[in-house]
């Protein structure tokens, strides 16, 4: 029996050898602290950088963390949150400033204690209580239950492997969980998440978290209960308590980003409608496209916001002759602009996989891939990711079912890819939050029947991103019958239940051509308006003629492997589809100017896809190059915004690249 649960055997020895990690940027204090802790007979590790501290925590086991509040590389509270989320360890804050507000902040972030400098050895002699207290609970339970693993039956069983103590702990864990859920702490210090139980310390790795988020999305954030999540995750050695506590933290996190997500979602929604289906629409007026775009723009990501609605409106004024082809490209183009969107989709994935990075780049999540270029709000790809979570609350996916507020829905863009629909492009532009604009678009789109029904909007209707999206995907699939390759997306999208929108978008986009009707709601209309603009632009560039080819390309494209990536991205923002579409037509270049490619890499990927398609049309090639370049530049710009986005994007890029050739660039 080692330390982990030394409660039973060595409760009297427990404080000794307790592994403490001390983090403080001031070397004087750090040295004093280290010596004091050694004097208390703890096993001490020190570092002056928070980032290094996280690394150490991930690589080694610790029982307790003591951290300074003010640090240059990372805020102490942030570190506190991350540690709580990832490793679930008790963290003690340390500061020279004993201001009540700061102390309150520390406690609310989950610190189990807040010490003032100068730290005295008497205080340090007591810190082990924070750790032992929890263990004590477990050990008490253990003593009560004698079954070695039977108890663990309902839990992981892996943790203690036949350790009766473990079992007891598991039971205890459950019980504690309940207690903690009620916030009954042993002492007032344990204000951290209820999941303070640590028996077998569960480290929420990126992979684990990804599964967790996938499960939550699948169930729907509102319906996600630990038991079901646990079942879905199907991970050994994971207890319901672990999941419950993690879920709690996750919910808090979502709440925090939901505000931002809301805005972005609106935008995304607008963008999201740029499904390929719009492309299909070919004949559809720009408005129609817009709708499509808007639906696809349902991305919950706020990134959609980045597209200034004004841009879209202006587009609408352009000749409606936009052929579908042109539109998609423009849409894609726009999407591309909102590199964020694409990034966000990637990010979404990333986000899903690990909440920690997301936390750090909360902005990312907010950025919906929708990145309709006009909207420069790209916060970065993140939004998409985060939005997915936050979107839950805020994204108003216009999806036919649930658009609580059609306008807003459009904006929320959780909708899948605008796919090439020029409308989409417009949608992308629509700011999710900019309902006014949505209305404008609406006018434009009014002429367009809600053919979008097929559009992912239905999918877009993601009141709750997780739920809706998965549903949407399903529905979109059905609807986008015209999108043959949707299948491919579907598959890809499915894994990204978190991305939700991606899947539906893809399909929806494909069917855009067939029906703008996807835009069941007004929001779609508004989106359409926005879309029409891009479409119009496309027309202007004269590449409209690509009509047939692009779409076809879309189909083919859909089948491309890149699509899946798009699908993924699309959840984040419908941009992905659009972006590819955009690449298609020369309009892209025009659109580029107008659209702000917020979508970073996802856009890139789309571009790749589009590029491929473009290859089919020689005329497009030159344009694509332009677009790509532009996109690239945009991407780089955005990629800067989000660290994690870049990762996602790059991973997505790889996907795309494998499938497509980026000949233009």
């Amino acid at each position: 029996m080692t330390m982990e649960n030394g409660v039973d055997d060595g409760s009297d020895q427990f404080p000794k050898g307790m592994r403490v990690l001390a983090v403080d940027d001031d070397p004087t204090c750090l040295m004093v602290l280290e010596t004091l802790l050694r004097r208390c007979q703890y096993h001490v590790t020190t570092t002056s950088q928070a980032i290094k501290a996280l690394k150490l925590l991930r690589e080694n086991k610790f029982d307790l963390v003591i951290s300074d509040v003010h640090m240059p590389d990372m805020d102490g509270f942030k570190l506190l949150e991350l540690v709580g989320l990832e490793m679930d360890l008790p963290v003690i804050m340390l500061s020279a400033n004993g201001d009540t507000k700061l102390v309150m902040k520390g406690i609310s972030h989950g610190a189990c204690d807040y010490l003032l400098k100068p730290v005295r050895i008497e205080e340090l002699k007591n810190i082990w209580q924070h750790v032992i207290r929890r263990k004590k609970f477990d050990s008490n339970k253990t003593r009560n239950s004698d079954k070695p693993n039977s108890e663990a039956g309902n839990v992981l069983g892996s943790a203690g492997a036949g350790n009766s103590e473990q079992n007891g702990k598991l039971n205890k864990k459950r019980k504690d969980q309940d207690d903690e859920e009620d916030e009954e702490q042993d002492n007032g210090h344990d204000n951290e998440d209820p999941s303070a139980q640590k028996k077998p310390r569960v480290v929420w790795s990126v992979e684990l978290h990804r599964k967790f988020v996938a499960a939550v999305n699948q169930l729907g954030i509102d319906k996600a209960v630990p038991k079901k999540i646990l079942d879905l995750m199907n991970v050994e050695k994971l207890t319901r308590e672990n999941v419950a506590s993690h879920l709690q933290k996750y919910r808090l996190y979502l709440k925090r980003i939901s505000c931002v997500a809301n805005q972005q979602a609106n935008m995304v929604a607008a963008l999201g409608s740029a499904d390929p289906s719009y492309l299909r629409m070919g004949s559809m007026s720009g408005v129609g496209h817009l709708q499509a775009l808007s639906s696809s723009g349902q991305f919950p990501n706020n990134a959609f916001r980045s597209f200034p609605p004004t841009g879209m409106v202006s587009r609408l004024n352009t000749p409606t002759g936009l052929n579908v082809h042109g539109f998609p490209s423009s849409g894609a183009f726009q999407l591309g602009q909102s590199q964020n969107l694409s990034n966000s989709s990637v990010e979404q994935l990333k986000y899903l996989s690990s909440i920690v990075p997301v936390n750090q780049n909360s902005v990312h999540g907010m950025q919906v891939p929708m990145g309709l270029d006009p909207l420069q709000n790209n916060k970065g790809v993140n939004p998409v990711q985060n939005l997915t979570t936050g979107i839950d609350a805020k994204t108003n996916f216009p999806v036919s079912n649930k658009l609580p507020d059609p306008h807003s829905r459009v904006a929320s863009g959780a909708h899948p890819p605008l796919l090439g629909n020029s409308n989409n492009a417009l949608m992308l532009e629509a700011r999710p939050q900019d309902t006014r604009r949505v209305i404008e678009y609406e006018d434009l789109a009014s002429s367009v029947p809600s053919q979008h029904s097929e559009l992912p909007f239905s999918l877009l209707d993601q009141g709750r991103y997780s739920d809706n999206w998965s549903n949407a995907v399903q529905s979109s699939r059905i609807q986008t019958g015209s999108y043959p390759s949707s299948e491919s997306f579907r598959q890809s999208a499915i894994p990204a239940t978190d991305n939700m929108a991606s899947l539906p978008l893809q399909e929806g986009n494909l069917s855009v051509s067939s029906s703008i009707s996807l835009l069941p709601n007004q929001s779609y209309n508004s989106l359409l308006d926005t879309h029409s603009q891009p479409v119009i632009l496309a027309n202007r560039t004269g590449h409209v003629s690509n009509n047939d080819v692009p779409f076809q390309g879309w189909d083919d494209h859909n089948q491309d492997a890149s699509y899946p990536s798009n699908a993924v991205c699309s959840t984040v923002n419908t941009v992905t589809p659009v972006s590819s579409a955009v690449c298609h037509t020369p309009i892209n270049s025009a659109l580029h100017r107008n659209l702000d490619f917020n979508y970073g890499d996802s856009l890139q990927m789309k571009r790749d896809a589009v590029a491929k398609l473009a290859a089919k049309e020689t005329s497009l090639k030159p344009h694509l190059g332009n677009i790509m370049n532009q996109q690239k530049s945009q991407q780089s710009h955005f990629s800067n915004n989000v660290g994690s986005l870049e990762d996602l994007v790059s991973s997505m890029m790889k996907q795309v690249k494998t499938s497509m050739h980026y000949s233009e660039d």
Partner: protein, 162 residues
């Protein structure tokens, strides 16, 4: 004789410490530091204090440049100064420099009120106090070193006797 020297040095050291405590320059935290020094870390106190001096000088320079440079535009970066001061307070209190810590606190309050003349005054007092503390502590270390020398010279004798 050597023993006497050692005792005298010991008396000197104690006297100095008493004085510093009486003046409020040092407080119990310093005693804690001394208690932390043992066979495993024989030079702990001097190591910590030296590190403290090194960091403090940097902090004081930063504070001075932040405050004096703002003379022209009258826009001193009070936030940054407060951050430096936070660190200064933390380290000073950790080693037991009581008077210095209080001066830092006053300085920090002045930054919160963006009181430039107040900050200037506080900075000067801080620098003055810091110099005083540094001198006294150096003196203390000096006596300590001498004592150690004397004791080293003494112990062999002691062993011989035994």
């Amino acid at each position: 004789m050597l023993g006497l020297g050692s005792d005298l040095l010991w008396a000197d050291m104690n006297r100095l410490l008493r004085l510093l405590f009486h003046e409020g320059v040092l407080d119990e935290q310093f005693l804690q530091l001394q208690q932390l020094q043992d066979e495993t870390s024989p030079n702990f106190v001097s190591q910590v204090i030296n590190m403290y001096f090194h960091e403090s000088e940097k902090l004081l320079n930063n504070l001075r440049s932040l405050l004096i440079q703002a003379h022209d535009d009258d826009f001193a970066d009070y936030n940054k100064m407060a951050i430096h001061l936070n660190q200064f307070i933390g380290s000073s209190s950790s080693i037991g420099a009581k008077r210095l810590t209080s001066l830092c606190l006053a300085f920090r309050a002045a930054t919160h009120h963006t009181n430039r003349p107040g900050c200037l005054r506080a900075l000067e007092m801080l620098e003055h106090e810091y110099c005083y503390l540094k001198n006294k502590l150096h003196e203390l270390f000096h006596i300590e070193q001498q004592r150690a020398l004397v004791a080293a010279a003494r112990y062999p004798l002691h062993d011989n006797n035994q």
